[in-house]
């Protein structure tokens, strides 16, 4: 497999070791991440793929272990559903911890471990799609799991958050399971209410967010959803999309021109952030928002066939500022220690700009292309 990033500054072998360590034995301080285990596996495997490692070969023997997280559950009342649980260690079979988020992480991991032509052969696609269907609530948004009750039908969780991350997970799962156009998705979910919900979160200054505060993460979720649906761009106006391009470009922190006058006064402005992206106005740049903003921009730039951002500066920010030269990995910023999440997102941002990463689906292109 080819390395997906061409830049001599990338410390490929250090990053590989850093990511591989997360798949090995973890000390007890990782206990509180028990419920995020599939997220850890996903971020490490996707990061390794970006670095050119053939994870389907290297971690072939762990595929059974991963598949053990996949469950087909009879909830009673004709609720025959399927999805992934976060951890086989703490799961209880009579009260399965099936969740939308873990199903997405499970399918992402499976894509990194599977062979091209039969990647999802062993899962029941119809049951997974029906699981997504049962997670949708009245407002059009999605919960991630069901209420803890005896198996007498499935009841959407009373306590789950229902923000755009969950809608994104629902659409991404359905896409991985084969939905391509609105009519495919509509077999399982109400698109009308989803689209109304997304329009509600379009902010006046551009971008998407809750209650009028735009956020690069939610913007990436909303635009990725529209990209995967493919034929629903008309829910918002061309002017709004252009305003959003502008809003996203304004998230790239600059140490040139008038901006420098904030060096005194704005405690969230750092000249060293030059070229990096922030998630919101007047915040520090952050490796993960480089990905969320870049993915959003790429989607919109494809719409209007133009390129706006200075990607050389973004490369400099990631490779010279947040890349850790000693132990590998990427940090959130130029001060923190590296962590797995920011390492994966930093690598994904670099590969995305090189054209080798499917941003909306969050998979390296050589993997996403084999999911037809």
């Amino acid at each position: 497999m080819p390395l997906l990033i061409s830049d001599d500054r990338l410390l490929n072998s250090k990053h590989q070791k850093y990511l591989e360590r997360h798949l090995a034995i973890l000390p007890s301080k990782y206990q509180d991440n028990e419920a995020n285990k599939l997220a850890i596996v996903t971020y490490a495997l996707i990061g390794l793929n970006v670095l050119g490692v053939d994870t389907s070969e290297k971690y072939k023997s762990s595929k059974n272990w991963l598949s053990n997280h996949y469950r087909e559950v009879d909830y009673g009342g004709s609720c025959l559903l399927a999805g992934f649980v976060p951890s086989t260690s703490i799961n209880i079979d009579s009260i399965p911890s099936l969740s939308l988020i873990n199903t997405l992480f499970g399918l992402w991991s499976l894509a990194c471990l599977g062979q091209e032509e039969n990647m999802y052969d062993e899962v029941d696609k119809e049951r997974i799609c029906r699981f997504v269907s049962h997670c949708q609530v009245e407002s059009g948004s999605f919960v991630s799991s069901f209420d803890v009750t005896p198996l007498d039908g499935c009841h959407t969780s009373s306590i789950d958050p229902t923000d755009l991350r969950y809608t994104y997970a629902a659409i991404a799962i359905l896409h991985l399971m084969g939905c391509r156009r609105s009519k495919d998705f509509e077999k399982y979910i109400s698109l009308q209410s989803i689209l109304a919900n997304i329009s509600d979160q379009a902010c006046a200054q551009g971008g998407f967010g809750q209650y009028c505060e735009p956020h690069a993460g939610f913007t990436s979720c909303a635009l990725s959803i529209l990209h995967m649906l493919g034929d629903q761009w008309s829910i918002l106006t061309p002017t709004f999309y252009e305003t959003t391009v502008h809003w996203l470009l304004e998230r790239q922190v600059s140490s040139q021109g008038s901006t420098t006058s904030m060096a005194e006064g704005n405690e969230n402005y750092d000249l060293a952030d030059h070229g990096g992206f922030q998630g919101r106005e007047n915040k520090f740049a952050d490796t993960c928002y480089c990905f969320w903003a870049l993915n959003s921009l790429s989607i919109l730039e494809d719409q209007c066939s133009a390129r706006f951002d200075k990607h050389d500066l973004l490369f400099n920010y990631l490779l010279d500022t947040t890349q850790n030269n000693l132990i590998g990995g990427f940090a959130k910023n130029n001060e923190d220690d590296p962590d797995l999440y920011h390492t994966c997102l930093g690598l994904a941002a670099l590969a995305l700009r090189g054209g080798n990463f499917n941003g909306p689906l969050f998979l390296p292109k050589d993997i996403s292309l084999s999911i037809s």
Partner: protein, 317 residues
């Protein structure tokens, strides 16, 4: 239960056979080396969960399990089922659960479950009070004045209780502390758009314009009040920018429109972009729009030169 890592409190768990967590699986990825406390607490809490026991001792066990694995949504959900069963319509007991949650929140400010769990509790509560929510909201904002989850929860409360009384004042307090607090600025737009069925009264919009202008005078290179100012005109004044606001913006861009090669510092690139936006609205001012975008591209905001040049091309199209 002596020598145990599980704290039984005042309850008896002797009849509970712990449900051991499975470990050392074949070809396992991310094998976590659990410590004894983890094994014991999860063993007991999961045994109770398996029985779906809805009891005070089960509630006590979930507290310990949740503090060890705050992201374990199934345990949170189990806790909610217990609370619903035991405390259902009882305001005092539900307030007790909110007290527990306050304490947990202070110790786990970045947790994803806390705010939606809180919303579920208030929806279950027969007599929820906004004032009951204010201290924890204040403590969390003091800890991180731009915490997105906290601001979203506050806005959810404002809508849930339909109480907008203290919100603009709350925002002003935070803007006084840090004029660059974008969340506090966005909060004002949220209030104006949510409080009034149609548009807010003109007098209020005018007051807000004056407020934004005064804050811009303090820190002209601050994108947040410029966004707010533009939003006020666009959302509530039909996008009709009057000469007063144009003159105001011009005071931060002195020289740019007099000399096409002007390169001395100006007070605000956002003022320049604000003017360019206004000048784009009428063909007779396209020349001035072009001048502004060129100055942004070459001198005042070169990182976005590709976009400013795109705007210039759009003017000609």
């Amino acid at each position: 239960m002596t020598e145990s890592n599980f704290d039984p409190g005042s309850f008896q768990y002797d009849d509970i056979e712990p449900l051991p967590i499975a470990s050392h699986q074949k070809d396992e990825l991310c094998r976590i080396l659990y410590d004894d406390e983890y094994r014991e607490v999860m063993g007991i809490a999961r045994a109770l969960l398996k029985r779906l026991e809805l009891s005070p001792r089960a509630l006590h066990a979930t507290s310990q399990a949740i503090s060890l694995v705050p992201a374990f949504y199934t345990m949170w959900n189990y806790r909610f089922q217990i609370v619903k069963q035991l405390f259902g319509g009882d305001p005092a007991k539900l307030n007790g659960e909110l007290d527990w949650l306050d304490e947990f929140t202070l110790n786990n400010p970045k947790n994803y479950q806390i705010w939606s769990y809180r919303q579920a509790l208030l929806q279950l509560h027969p007599a929820p009070q906004f004032v009951r929510e204010l201290p924890i909201l204040q403590a969390m904002i003091d800890d991180d004045t731009k915490n997105y989850h906290v601001w979203s929860y506050r806005r959810w409360c404002v809508l849930f209780f339909q109480n907008f009384d203290r919100e603009l004042q709350f925002s002003s307090g935070l803007i006084t502390r840090d004029v660059y607090n974008n969340s506090a600025w966005c909060h004002r737009m949220f209030v104006l758009k949510s409080q009034f069925k149609a548009k807010p009264p003109l007098a209020l919009v005018t007051t807000e314009i004056h407020y934004a202008k005064a804050q811009i005078e303090l820190a002209p290179q601050n994108i947040s009040p410029w966004n707010y100012l533009r939003g006020l005109y666009q959302e509530f004044l039909d996008g009709e920018f009057d000469s007063e606001i144009t003159d105001f913006a011009l005071t931060f861009t002195l020289g740019v429109f007099d000399d096409p090669n002007h390169s001395a510092p100006i007070l605000s690139s956002h003022a320049l972009e604000f003017l360019a936006h206004i000048y784009t609205k009428h063909q007779e001012t396209y020349g001035r729009a072009r001048c502004a975008y060129q100055a942004l591209s070459k001198v005042y905001d070169p990182i976005r030169a590709n976009f400013w040049n795109y705007k210039i091309r759009s003017l000609l199209a």
